[in-house]
Amino acid sequence: MGDYFVLAISSIFINNILLAQYLGNCPFLGTSKKMETAVGMGMAVIFVLVMAGIITWITNTFFLVKFDLEYLRTVVFILVIASLVQFVEMFLKKSIPALYAGLGIFLPLITTNCAVMGVCLILVNEEYNFMQALVASFCYAVGFALALILFAGVRERILLARVPTPLQDTSIALVTAGILSLTFFAFKGMV
């Protein structure tokens, strides 16, 4: 049990997918202007990432490794993720319209979110077993949502501040992200 706790803490805080591993930065900057969109994107990523992590793990272990096809990993993973996202979108639209209304517009963006593909590759590279892969993919996704929501909170405040013209928009957002990343950097001493 202790191992899983350490894995969870390190995936959420120490190796935070956005601020320490630099994955998924395009949606990080793109959807953090308003709290609402940040929450929506965070939830959509948690939802898809857990499923994608498990499915690519299974594909890799029982298909690619077994038949010695590991060189096809990139192509197979991206296809699995793209079709998974499409499928989730269709499923939600038909069966749970309330959830679709909340997450719908973010789902297509997730295909090209490198956090999803990145976590799938990390799970395989670290040679996690099934339970570890499940815990790690969930915790990485939680870390993503956490950082995104924190950042959106900060960014809403920046709107009220007077920012010099050349620094406006993306530029000041990046510098802020750097300071946020510095706070997460402090977790490195924990384990």
Binding site: L29, R73, F77, I78
Partner: protein, 201 residues
């Protein structure tokens, strides 16, 4: 509004240079720019994929049905990424190790899919080739510029290929913040600010 062939090439170097003007493809930009060498490797790999996927997509643009175009683009891009990955594994193994998962992640680099969708799927083969080459070189130069700033301030040396070259004297105290994650965000943010200042006139 037909641009001349030179313009198609040159626009990638300044007007539309990623990741500064088009804020796309930030993840590799932030992650690999710890050393100039990594920046060059990543830039060349991305340019390779960008040029060949642009050529192939543009030559197949009348064959691909528009409903499944995104999926087809992704498969084409993923194929070239795999080729680049295998080539790097075979010929530049240390660099391949350093770049790690960011090589397969070229697939989800928004710049490539963006160019495929916005440019190559509508224009001729030669124009798409020039566009890919221009944007690719622009991307490589930006990576190198960012990496040079970070590495110089973070370690006092520059690594162009394999061996670091000491630039700043022994009295320089390395500012290790710059080569860590937070420094990446701050450096990119400040460079963007400088680009805005320079472009404002």
């Amino acid at each position: 509004m037909a641009k001349s062939l030179t313009q198609e090439f040159v626009k990638g170097l300044w007007d539309e240079v990623p990741p500064f003007r088009l804020v796309l493809g930030l993840c590799p930009t932030l992650a690999v720019t710890k050393a100039v060498e990594n920046g060059i490797g990543m830039g060349v790999a991305t340019t390779f994929v960008l040029v060949f996927s642009n050529i192939l997509i543009s030559s197949m643009r009348n064959v691909i049905p528009s409903k499944v175009r995104i999926a087809s683009f992704i498969v084409i891009i993923a194929t070239f990424v795999t080729i680049a990955e295998l080539l790097m594994q075979a010929y530049t193994y240390p660099l391949f190790k350093k770049l790690g998962i960011f090589i397969p992640l070229i697939v989800v680099n928004c710049i490539i899919l963006g160019r495929a969708e916005a440019f190559a799927s509508k224009r001729g083969v030669f124009r798409s080739f020039l566009d890919g080459l221009g944007i690719g070189i622009g991307f490589t130069l930006s990576l190198v510029a960012l990496a040079a700033v970070r590495e110089l301030l973070g370690t006092g040396s520059l690594t162009f290929w394999v061996k670091p070259i000491q630039i700043l004297g022994p009295s320089f105290k390395p500012f290790s913040f710059m080569v860590e994650a937070p420094g990446a965000f701050v450096a990119l943010g400040l460079m963007l600010c400088i680009m805005n200042l320079a472009g404002r006139k």
